[in-house]
């Protein structure tokens, strides 16, 4: 068995990035993701990459934009209020089809909120957040191991599609320390290890025609054309990149749908519910976008009802309801503002649901 190390979630992301060949990182301090920025400062120096503590989140994401167009693997990280500021750059990257990884270690909001882990940025992450008709792949790790693994996957997917990828985690998973395997050992068959083409990068036009990277498309129909091109790419992501973790599904009557830290709490709930004779299973979306619509649809045919749990007042629950199209009851249990969902309150809710006719 491969030896594990004990690592903080935030640092696991940093190690995943370094091992994925990320050689340009730009950050700006904000709790609860600061360990990641500090980790990158140290490791980038060791691997002779570029590390800059930018003057703002806006500058940091625009540095990611600049680094990305030279063809280097690049990343930035922040927490909720800082991610709001980064939306400008993310939209520009999506338009220019530039790869890059954006990490959001969510904290309580709205506004400056608090520094506790929360899940209030689901809408922002999965609906784009910035302006325009674009999508980003959103991956939701729920352990230190996945902080590492999904960071590695983020760089793969960003390159594969030349699109920004968001790693959406939260203060609890970010701060939590857990054992982790240090090498990315993936059985994911969907990953193409294809090296991305270089016919789009800017590195000086020696021996070729000059190129431009831009998103201002003023000619009639030009922008629509780009949007359709992007749309085809997003469709392909929806077909190929859905990832989901199923747990105790086989005999389940009630399905909990949860991601990230809520899924961790959900697992404890299920362990205890099963001891009490409640047949509960879990669907844990690993990709929040593309959302596992078909998986949920299929499982809906075999179960009585659903309970979505989130550390928010209900955001992903809307996607679950859309997927189920009214065919099953979808209940919700959530807490906003960085307060932690209690196992007991969810158990109570489960009992209440199982007693419903």
């Amino acid at each position: 068995m491969e030896k594990k190390i004990l690592i903080r979630g935030n640092e696991a992301i940093g190690e995943g990035a370094i091992q994925s060949g990320c050689r340009a990182y730009f950050g700006y301090p904000i709790t609860p993701q600061n360990e990641l920025t500090a980790y990158m400062a140290k490791r980038m120096f060791e691997v002779k990459g570029v590390f800059i503590q930018a003057e703002s989140e806006i500058a940091a994401i625009n540095m990611v934009f600049g680094a990305s167009l030279t063809g280097v693997r690049t990343m930035t990280s922040s927490s909720s209020p800082g991610i709001s500021l980064k939306q400008e750059g993310i939209s520009y990257m999506a338009a220019c089809q530039l790869p890059g990884v954006i990490v959001n270690i969510q904290r309580g909001g709205p506004g400056l909120g608090n520094i506790a882990g929360s899940q209030g940025d689901y809408f922002q992450a999965t609906r784009g957040g910035g302006h325009g008709d674009y999508r980003t792949i959103v991956l939701a790790p729920y352990s230190a191991q996945e902080m590492f693994d999904l960071t590695c996957l983020s760089f793969q997917l960003a390159d594969k599609y030349r699109n920004p990828v968001m790693l959406l985690s939260d203060g609890i998973v970010g701060q939590m320390i857990e054992p982790m395997r240090q090498n990315w050992d993936t059985n994911d068959k969907n990953i193409e290890w294809k090296v991305r083409g270089e016919d789009w990068i800017l590195n000086g036009c020696k021996g070729r025609e000059p190129r431009m990277v831009r998103s201002l498309l003023m000619e009639e129909g030009e922008l629509e054309k780009l949007n359709w091109e992007l749309n085809r790419k997003y469709k392909k992501m929806e077909e190929q990149e859905v990832r989901v973790d199923l747990w105790n599904i086989e005999d389940a009557e009630i399905i909990i749908v949860a991601y990230g830290i809520a899924a961790r709490i959900g697992k404890t709930v299920i362990q205890r519910a099963r001891r009490q004779g409640l047949k509960v299973g879990m669907i844990r979306p690993i990709t929040l976008w593309p959302f596992p619509i078909q998986v949920i649809k299929d499982i809906a045919q075999k179960v009585k009802s659903f309970l979505v749990i989130e550390m928010s007042l209900g955001q992903m629950v809307e996607d679950v309801r859309l997927a189920i199209e009214g065919k099953r009851r979808v209940h919700f249990c959530g807490r906003p503002g960085g307060s932690v969902l209690e196992v007991d309150e969810i158990l109570d809710k489960l009992r209440e649901i199982s007693n419903l006719k």
Partner: protein, 248 residues
Amino acid sequence: MKKVFSYPESLKKTKFSYCPGCGHGISQRLVAEVIDEFKIREKTIGIAPVGCAVFAYNYWNFDVTEAAHGRPPAVATAIKRVLPDRIVFTYQGDGDLASIGAAEILHAANRGENITVIFVNNAIYGMTGGQMAPTTLLGQKTWTTPWGRKAELSGYPMKISEALGQLDGVHYIERVAVNNPENVLKAKKAIKKAFKNQIANKGFSLVEVLSMCPVGWAVTSVEALQWIEEKLIPVYPLGVIKDKSKST
């Protein structure tokens, strides 16, 4: 016969989309000429701003990207850090550099990034129809200062080059104008120096170019040349603002 003044290789044959008498065409030609003269066309990456000059990506005959409003120094920083042997420059207007991107330029300068910045100051927002810029003169009428800029309401014309000159990270800043042939030649010399500094790894160099916007100022093209001389230069005096290689 020998061509003595000819179209630079670093400029595509595309027609400019700028208004008649606009100074951007002159500034962008000067940049292209300097790049030709240093033979760095194939290793140059230019960054166009938001504003009229965004279309520079259509005109320059080398790799060009466009940055979000005010962010060219951040984009340039990253490109130069990742590719330190390439020549990286930003071309920014007064709104882009001195207003929305004030933080980015200040910090790129303070870090002493080894990049070149061409800062075109025409004291107005051209592309959006002629609103007040940070560099708009007191009393100057614009779309958003219909009775002239008042200090009590909108502060003073921003001397950002002087402000940047205070930073230790800055190697060279000079203010030039393109309102007569002599000034154009001086402008070219300054731009050349700013690129030469980068080639010699000397650090952050910025050239502020006072430039005509006849449409934004509501004057004729020829009057715009005079306007620079009579109105703009007294507030923004020409000359070297900082040069580390001279002070040591």
